[in-house]
Every structure is written in C-alpha cells, then in structure tokens.
C-alpha cells in the first residue's frame, strides 16, 4: 500500500488539471478518497480509495456497520473534514483542497445537516435555530425571519416557532433540524442517523418527510446502519472497511 503523503505532490498536479479541464458534471463527485489518521507511529486508514458520483435529485443511503468508515465519509461529504488524498467536488467546486473558512462557506451554502441528536441550540427558539444558517450567510433579519418561518411551515411546525427545543417532542425537534437544514436551499440534505434517537412511529414520520422532500427535488444523503431506513432510499452504497462494498439501485 502506498503512503498517501508521498503521493501528494503528484496528485496536486493531477488535481489542477482536473480542476480546469475535467470538472465532473455530477452534484457530488469523489475520486479515490483516502482518509488517514495518524495514531502515534501507526497509520489508520478510515477510507481507502472511495470513488462515487451523486446526481442532482438522488436519494442515497450510505450504510455500513460501526467502524466501517461511514462516519468519516459523512464528515467528508459534509465538508467538516478534508481527505488525506483524493479529489472531491460539490456543485463543480473542488472542496478537497479548501481551507477552513472556504469549507465553512460550503457547509453554509451547499450542505444541510440533520443529526441523530438534532443538535439544536437549547436556549434558542425553533425560529432562531432555523435562522442560524442564514445569519452566517449574512442575510438581513427581515428576510431571515420570513424564510425561517416558511421552512418551519414546510415541516408543519408553523405553530411551534417560538418554542424552545425542550418544549418540543423528539420528532418535532428533528423537523426543526430539517427545516434548519433546508432553509438556505443547500445542494444536499445530509442526514446522519436521522431516526437514531426516535421511536419507530416518529421515525416513519421523519422518513415520510424525507420522501416528500425528495419528491420536491431535494438531493438527500442518509448515513445509517439500519437497513429499513436505508431501504427507503433509491440507491444504497454499502461501506465496509473503508471501501465501497456495493453500490446498488433500489427499484421502487
């Protein structure tokens, strides 16, 4: 196995070429992505050369057991992390070589996160939580309000805007999180175990909401270890030991 660090200079030239001449047309494009962690003297390869494309409007599930590298992959897709090696484009933008601030901008504009534990700000109202991405996008307060209200109404929480997270049920909290994820019209809705903290009935409600959002044209990527959640998607990528084991289309 070649060490990623020694390959880097060559890869950079290659990347430049691609950046100018062969920008992939897909919404998401990963090419030979490696993510290596240095654990003292040892190197731990969480991802070993992952490549795939996601087209606009796809509903994709990434499934794998714990330790498979799917969380690492999710962090990379969500631009919370950068690959040790390989090229990653979102919306024709090469994000694999961006610095922290550029990544923050991509997260703000292109990615809508939905987390297992919702990750809402406890002290803020539902409305303020949904407004957060718009604040960092520099949008004026009046427009922010209007857009956040619309996003909350879209997830049927029009009557819960001034509630704080602890005044909402789990399903409602996750819907606030979904409204927050969508409020800035991102390219991708990226959900990490979105039903992991919910009971079965609420899980189904959330999955139905995803279905609806997909039908409305959103691109959705769900990272999960639950097969029945993954089965809702139209395409499933199976990850094992840091590599893509299978990439299957689900006929509906």
């Amino acid at each position: 196995m070649e060490s990623p660090t020694t390959v880097e200079p060559q890869a950079l030239e290659h990347g430049d070429l691609l950046a100018h001449d062969a920008v992939p047309a897909a919404l998401i494009s990963m090419r030979d992505i490696w993510r290596t962690y240095e654990m003292g003297a040892e190197q731990l390869h969480a991802l070993r050369g992952v490549s795939f494309d996601v087209q606009r409007g796809e509903y994709l599930a990434i499934i794998g057991p714990s330790g498979s590298g799917k969380s690492t992959l999710m962090n990379l897709i969500g631009c919370l992390d950068t690959p040790s090696q390989g090229r990653y484009w979102i919306n024709s933008k090469l994000v694999s070589e961006m610095d922290d601030d550029e990544l923050a901008r991509i997260r703000n504009q292109e990615i809508g996160f939905v987390f297992q534990t919702f990750n809402l700000l406890a002290r803020a109202t539902a409305l303020h939580n949904v407004e957060l991405p718009l604040i960092y996008a520099g949008i004026s307060s009046a427009e922010r309000h209007e857009r956040a209200e619309r996003a909350l109404r879209n997830v049927e929480l029009g009557d819960r805007m001034t509630h704080r997270p602890n005044e909402l049920s789990g399903g409602q909290r996750q819907r606030v999180a979904i409204a927050r994820a969508l409020v800035n019209n991102p390219s991708i809705l990226l959900a990490d175990e979105p039903t992991g903290a919910l009971d079965t009935k609420t899980s189904y409600e959330i999955m139905e909401l995803f279905e609806r959002l997909h039908e409305a044209g959103n691109t959705i990527i769900v990272v999960t270890h639950e097969h029945d959640i993954a089965a809702r998607a139209h395409r499933i990528i199976h990850i094992r030991d840091g590599q893509i084991e299978r990439d299957e289309r689900v006929e509906k």
């Binding site: 962090n75 969500g78 919370l80 992390d81 922290d100 601030d101 923050a104 901008r105 997260r107 703000n108 504009q109 996160f113 987390f115 990750n119 809402l120 700000l121 002290r123 957060l132 991405p133 604040i135 960092y136 996008a137 520099g138 927050r180 800035n184």
Partner: protein
C-alpha cells in the same frame, strides 16, 4: 456575519447567565470604580488647588520676596533670606510706571493677627491685612454685601474695613454689618463690605479676615516691613499675552534690583502655572501610585473574566460545533466570544463608573469636592473594553480553532 448579530448574540449569552455574569464582573466593577474614584479625587484635588490656591480663574501673577524654589530646603530658604530684599512701595511705583503689558497692578501687605471687638463681642487672632483698592478687582473678590474700598479711602488712610463673612456673622448676628463699627486694636473702623463666604481650604477657614486699605494698614499697624512686607499683583491686558506680561514685570524687577545677566532672581514671581506645576511635582508620583494600586483590582477582574470565558468555551463546545457545521467561520466564532467578553467588561465598566459616581457624590458631600470628568469616564469604559479584549482573545481563539467534528461530539 454582521456585527449587530454578534452583538445580539453576546447580549443573549450574558443575559442567559445573569448571576454568573454579575459575579464574574464583580472584580471589574470594583476595579473600575476604585480607579475612577481615585481619578475623580485627584481631579477634584487639582481643581481645588486651581481654584482656591492658584486662583486660576483670576489669572493674575504675584511678585513677592521669595520664589517657589526658595522653599526647596532649609538651606535655600536661609540663602534667600540673606539675598532677597523685601519689596517696597518704591519698587511698586517703579514697576507701575513701566509695565506696558500689565492691566491692573496693585500692592498688598502680608497679614498680621489682631483682636477685633464690637460691643462685648471679641474675636481673637483675626488675620488683618492691607490692600490697595484695585486688588479687589485683581483677585475678583466676591462682594456679598456693601463694596470694596475706594482710592480716596486708601489715600486718606481712612479707617474702613472689608471683612470676611465669619467675622460679619459673629460681630453682626443681625446681618447689619455694612455701615457698622468694629474696633481693631482699640481703633474704630467702619465696615464697608462683606465678602461672600468661601468655606475652608484644607480645613483652614477662609472667611475669618479683615482687610483694610493699604495706607490705613501702614498708618495703624506699622511700617510695611518684615511680616507686613508688601507684594504686588497684576493682570495682563490681554490674557493671551499673560506670559509676556509676567516676563516684562520680571525683567523690570531685575532692572530695579540691578541684576546682571545670568544672575539668579532675588525675588519671586508666582503664576497659577507655577503653583499647579509645584503641585504636579509634589503629588505626581503619589497620584500615579494612587491610580496604580486600584488598577491591580482591574487586572485581577480581567483575569476572572478570562477564566470564566474559558469555562464558557468549554461548556459551549457543542454549540460551537453546531455553529461551525451550519457555516460559522473561525472569525465568526472568534468574534462571538471576543465581543461577549468585551460587552461583559464594558457593562462592568459602566457599573463601575456609576458606583464611582455615587461614591463621588458622597465623598463630595462629606470630605472633598470630587470631579468626575467625561474624559475619565470615557477612559474607564475604554479601559474596560481593552481588558475585555485582553481577557477574551485567548478563550475566543481557543473556541475558533475547535475542530467541528470534535466539537459536535462533545456533550
């Protein structure tokens, strides 16, 4: 992210932990209050000296036998006593005919103590001095009742007296001092005027005095020598040329004394500046120390703020992770915590100023007039903000460089 949003965020975070914020700020508040109180005491003290001793408002100069430098030590006093002759009325006439830049120019004589009597009422040890009528104008004497002397009264050595309000109150309890008769050393004088009360300066009463015309003083109390020696006071025709007027008087005085070029003056010239200069020399170091000590409280206050900001960053790691995931850049997070620290300390600064202001009112009522200038307030607020930056920058930087993945994983 817009600044106003950062500001709102900071206010919300501070408001969310009201008690903690208040306790955190206690040190800052005490520090700022202490510094501001000391500064306003110093400024009050300076204003006091300017007004009561240097008589800044009157803008006059005084020529006397000794200069400020002569009082440096016992040797210099002894030397000056040998070298500096007493001033005389002949000196006064010599200068008066030659000064072109001086407007009003008058002579007075140092006071002596005497017994004052009216009926059965006797006042011991009252300071009595003699002044030319113009001195009233030069010193901008505030007449409460009656008038100052006239030239005629001075020339005739009339037995008239201008008295302090304490003397008037004690000898004329019914308030009918003007026109009344008092006895000084058994000689009757008619009271022509009473001065407005001035209170005390450094605990010394200012209103127990009697002034008589200079010529009456000479006739009834003896030659204007020794402790009764004369001094001159003058004002400039144009306040802008005050320094020139002083210099002119000094040069003519040197001519009068026949001093060679380069020879030291054998007389003294006092200006308001020379008195405030002396004050600054004497008290400058004390003032610096007096400000530095409470400033330590401010530094400790800032350290407390830093400590709490560090705790706050640790506590809010998850929040930082969420914000980063949603698109907050490092600068946004840095600003958020920095502005929070600065807003916090500026609130502390304001609270400190308010407390200092209240303390100042109390001190002014019972001890000494304090003076709280806008400059001092501005400086205190600015300094608090600076302390906020100093205390907030490291915690904010720690927050900004948190890895979003790690931060999201925090509880």
């Amino acid at each position: 992210m817009k600044f106003i949003e950062t500001l709102k965020l900071a206010a919300a975070a501070i408001w969310a932990h009201k008690l903690r914020s208040a306790l955190t700020l206690l040190g800052m508040v005490i520090g700022v209050a202490a510094v501001v109180v000391v500064v306003s005491l110093i400024q009050g003290f300076n204003a006091y000296i300017d007004e009561k001793i240097a008589n800044i408002g009157a803008k006059s100069y005084t020529i006397g036998r000794f200069s400020m430098d002569d009082f440096k030590d016992t040797d210099s006093i002894a030397a000056a006593q040998r070298r500096n002759k007493e001033l005389t009325l002949e000196d006064f006439e010599f200068l008066k005919t030659r000064l072109t830049l001086t407007d009003k120019f008058a002579a007075g004589a140092r006071p002596q103590r005497a017994q004052i009597k009216r009926g059965n009422e006797i006042l011991q040890d009252v300071a009595i001095d003699g002044k030319q009528p113009l001195m009233g104008d030069i010193e901008k004497v505030d007449v409460a009742d009656g008038r100052y002397f006239t030239d005629v009264e001075n020339n005739e050595a009339a037995r008239v007296a201008f008295i302090g309000s304490d003397v008037a109150d004690k000898l004329f309890p019914n308030g009918d001092a003007v026109g009344g008769e008092i006895f000084i050393n058994s000689l009757p004088y008619r009271v022509v005027g009473v001065r407005t009360a001035k209170g005390t300066v450094f605990g010394m009463p200012q209103d127990t005095f009697v002034t008589v015309p200079l010529m009456s003083y000479r006739r009834n109390f003896g030659a204007l020598r020794n402790w009764r020696s004369v001094y001159f006071q003058g004002t400039a025709k144009d306040d802008k040329q005050f320094e020139d007027a002083v210099d002119e008087a000094k040069q003519w005085m040197r001519v009068r004394r026949g001093l060679e070029k380069g020879e030291k003056d054998n007389f003294g010239v006092f200006t308001p500046d020379s008195i405030t200069g002396l004050r600054d020399r004497l008290f400058g170091t004390i003032f610096i120390v007096a400000i530095a000590v409470p400033a330590i409280a401010l530094v400790i206050g800032a350290i407390v703020v830093m400590n709490i900001m560090l705790v706050s960053v640790t506590e809010r790691t998850k929040e930082i992770g969420i914000r980063k995931a949603l698109g907050a850049r490092r600068a946004d997070i840095l600003k958020q915590f920095l502005v929070e620290a600065v807003v916090l300390t500026i609130i502390g600064g304001f609270a400190g100023v308010v407390i200092a202001w209240l303390l100042g009112i109390v001190v002014s009522m019972y001890v000494i007039q304090t003076y709280l200038s806008l400059g001092a307030i501005g400086l205190a607020i600015l300094f608090s903000g600076g302390a906020g930056v100093a205390a907030g920058i490291f915690p904010a930087w720690k927050a900004a460089r948190l890895d979003p993945i790690e931060a999201l994983r925090a509880d």
